[in-house]
């Protein structure tokens, strides 16, 4: 069944993999991007939007609704990192990451859900992170934002369950994306060494979990955190 899908931050990495997977499966897909639209996107509606700006979020949704129809599946993926040890982290470093990763998720979900409620069908999937559960030195801001998404998702899951809108989190471990290319080799070896499966995920492996939660088959799943982390967060 063809659905209208929006992936925020869909121009690269996990977001692009999700957008491609949904488009290849015959859905009508839109993405938002902040810096640059992806090259491989002839069948994807690309809208420039910064999720830290509520007016831009509203304008992006309005454009998508006009061109494709109301968003039925929202993948809230847009995010950023400003990695520093906490002693060196400024208040702005902390609040900027929260504003993008957590409040940004709130903004897009709040804009999307009323239409899902009216349709009595909707899927919201937040891209979390294993570090939201297990923490990560140098990422207190990012980890806090990703942990916050869990409380946000579960509250939305309860608020909108009666309207058949499910809300879940997919929590990746290390994934081979641009975000990770910023990490040096020694750090990367240390991280993959800690993963029971001994490697990073491909973005498509995250997209597969997202697609499952967005499917009709997952209609009875809401408020879960689905780790796709090679076992890194086990028991957390």
């Amino acid at each position: 069944m063809s659905r209208v899908v929006l992936v925020t931050g869909g121009n690269r990495g996990i977001g692009l993999a999700c957008a491609r997977a949904f488009a290849d499966a015959g859905n009508q897909v839109a993405i938002t991007y902040r810096s640059e639209a992806p090259a491989d996107s002839a069948d994807i509606l690309c809208v420039r939007c910064d999720v830290t700006n509520a007016e831009q979020v509203d304008a992006a949704f309005t454009e998508i609704e006009e061109k494709l129809g109301p968003v039925e599946i929202l993948i809230s993926n847009a995010g950023m990192t400003i990695d520093k040890l906490t002693m060196r982290m400024t208040d702005d470093d902390f609040s900027d990451v929260l504003d993008s990763n957590l409040t940004g998720g709130f903004r897009v979900a709040k804009r999307a859900i009323p239409k899902m409620m009216r349709a009595r069908w909707g899927r919201v999937i937040f891209i979390g992170s294993v570090v939201g559960s297990i923490g990560q030195a140098g990422q207190s801001n990012y980890a806090a934002s990703k942990a916050g998404l869990i409380g946000l998702a579960r509250s939305l899951a309860r608020e909108f369950a009666s309207r058949n809108v499910t809300v879940n989190v997919v929590a990746p471990g290390p994934v081979a994306t641009d975000m990770f290319s910023a990490v040096d080799d020694a750090m990367r070896d240390a991280i993959t060494g800690a993963v029971p499966l001994g490697r990073m995920a491909e973005p498509s492996e995250i997209a597969a979990a997202v697609q499952f939660l967005a499917s009709d088959s997952a209609g009875y799943i809401t408020g879960v955190v689905l780790p796709v982390d090679g076992g890194l967060g086990m028991g957390g």
Partner: protein, 77 residues
């Protein structure tokens, strides 16, 4: 009934999925119209848009009937 009430009624019919004759001044949202808290939030948002008014959360406290909601919205115009 006034045009304002007809407009109000149309909003209630659309959002609450009820028939126009159920929307009387005395009708209660919960018991008579089967509306839950989400329905009421949706209705208030729709009324704010249609009547170009803003309703604060605390003003909604104790609003249980169509008449109470209607009077609240009209008092804002």
């Amino acid at each position: 009934m006034s045009d304002d009430f007809e407009k109000f009624k149309a909003c209630a019919v659309e959002i609450l999925s009820v028939s126009p004759d159920q929307v009387t001044m005395e009708a209660t949202f919960g018991e008579d119209l089967g509306a839950d808290s989400l329905d009421l939030v949706e209705l208030v948002m729709k009324l704010e848009e249609e009547f170009d008014v803003t309703v604060d959360e605390d003003e909604l406290e104790g609003i249980a009937t169509i008449g109470q909601a209607y009077n609240l919205i009209i008092s804002k115009k």
